[in-house]
Amino acid sequence: MAPSPDESTALDAAGTAEDAAGFRVSLSNFDGPFDLLLNLISKHEMDITEVSLSAVTNEFIAYLKELDDDEELDQASEFLVVAATLLDMKVAGLLPQGELVDAEAVALLEARDLLFARLLQYRAFKEVSVWFARCLQREDRRHVRAVRLDEKHRRKTPELVWSLTPADFAALALLAFAPKEIPHVGLDHLHAPLVSIREQAAIVVTLLRGTESLSFRELVSGVSEPGIVVARFISVLELYRHAALSFEQLEPLGELTLRWAADSWSDETLATLGADYDR
């Protein structure tokens, strides 16, 4: 059972995280600052599997709405880091672990330790950034002697040797203006393009009506995008719900054969198909 944090731990952890005012979490089994929640989890005093991340997320989104833009961005990016890590931990925590210590279980434990480490590491850097901020701020206020050299001394500097022609100079300018693009890893793969179930259903309908029967394999042949395969499968299920098609599968995991079976079919049905998946 996830214990409600006992008094002393709460005080102790709250003391160390007192400036982390800000986002508080209110769950059935926990109420306190987000930081405290992390503290407890990292000290193994609370079980990550008992924490409803979706509830935490909902609360966080509500909390964000009350912040101004800058704060919001900072807090949101931080929350994402932590929440993603918690999610990973939770996944690792929920996976069944055999009683025997087999290689897989060990790997799982290691994975969990790694995630802990990642969380702690992130938190360490976050904490130390407070020190950076304070030093930078303190030093910003300091004034250092930075006075232009007296004319009399400046005259002692060696004569400048200049060998560039205007063309050289222009070439240098081009070089200097060439964008120094910092190469970056694209994130596009993280956002699979949206696939419309309705569009895919229309394709399925067209294909099935034009022939006597099709296997699902044939229905998705030539499609390489997993999203489209999934959407076609969902549209098959939806069409089946509307009794527009029948299918048979002779053995488990065997070939799935589809037949068009609609007595009356109007394209209006198509327009509302998959509405459950709309958001």
Binding site: F132, H143, V144, I182, H184
Partner: protein, 208 residues
């Protein structure tokens, strides 16, 4: 009587020290002359070369000057001080007078770094040399624009490109040390982000 004796001996010791000071004063003067014209910190060795004196003598003269300016020498405390910051020595307005100067020069405070930039800076400071993707994996967000900001501010620099992947490794600059008011990376507060019992090794007390 014993007290008097003590006083007298202290007195003459101080006098001896004063004479010694006078003898070496040309060196402190030369150092002061250099200090007045530099616009970035000057390291001990460069300074010794500039004033043409051996390093140990220069180090001692610097200590004398620091004490002098702090009012621990013979004269009054000065409105400036000599600090070793960012790997070298430089004259600063004494902290007590920062407000006076701020009022005098006006101007506005430089833009503060965002929390994301601060955290990225911290990761680079402790992990250097480090690539952007390594930083990103700790920060778990895209750090490209933040790295750009830090580069433009001169707080970090490109160290070298990985021979295999071509990924650029970043590190911090002496300018960062100056901005932090410390002399070397050794003065960063200790963190032990590693690993299994990282919570124990991580002492909040030393950081705040």
């Amino acid at each position: 009587m014993t007290d008097d004796m003590t006083d007298a001996s202290t007195g003459s010791a101080a006098q001896g020290l004063a004479e010694e000071r006078t003898l070496e004063s040309p060196l402190t003067e030369r150092i002061e002359a250099i200090m007045l014209i530099i616009d970035e910190p000057i390291g001990l060795i460069a300074l010794a070369a500039a004033v043409g004196s051996p390093v140990p003598a220069v180090r001692q003269a610097l200590e004398t000057l620091v004490d002098d300016y702090d009012g621990n020498g013979q004269g009054p405390r000065r409105g400036f001080e000599l600090r070793e910051v960012g790997g070298g020595w430089r004259l600063y307005v004494r902290e007590d007078h920062d407000d006076l100067i701020a009022e005098f020069v006006g101007g506005q405070a430089p833009a503060r770094l965002s929390q994301a930039a601060l955290e990225t800076l911290a990761v680079i400071a402790y992990k250097q040399p480090v690539t952007r993707s390594q930083v990103a994996s700790i920060r778990a967000v895209n750090v490209d624009s933040v790295v750009r900001t830090l580069l433009a501010r001169g707080l970090i620099t490109e160290l070298f490109a990985d021979s295999e992947t071509g990924a650029i490794n970043y590190g911090t600059t002496d300018q960062l040390l100056q901005h932090l008011g410390i002399n070397s990376l050794d003065e960063l507060p200790p963190i032990s982000p590693l690993l299994d019992d990282g919570a124990d090794g991580f002492d909040e007390g030393t950081i705040r």
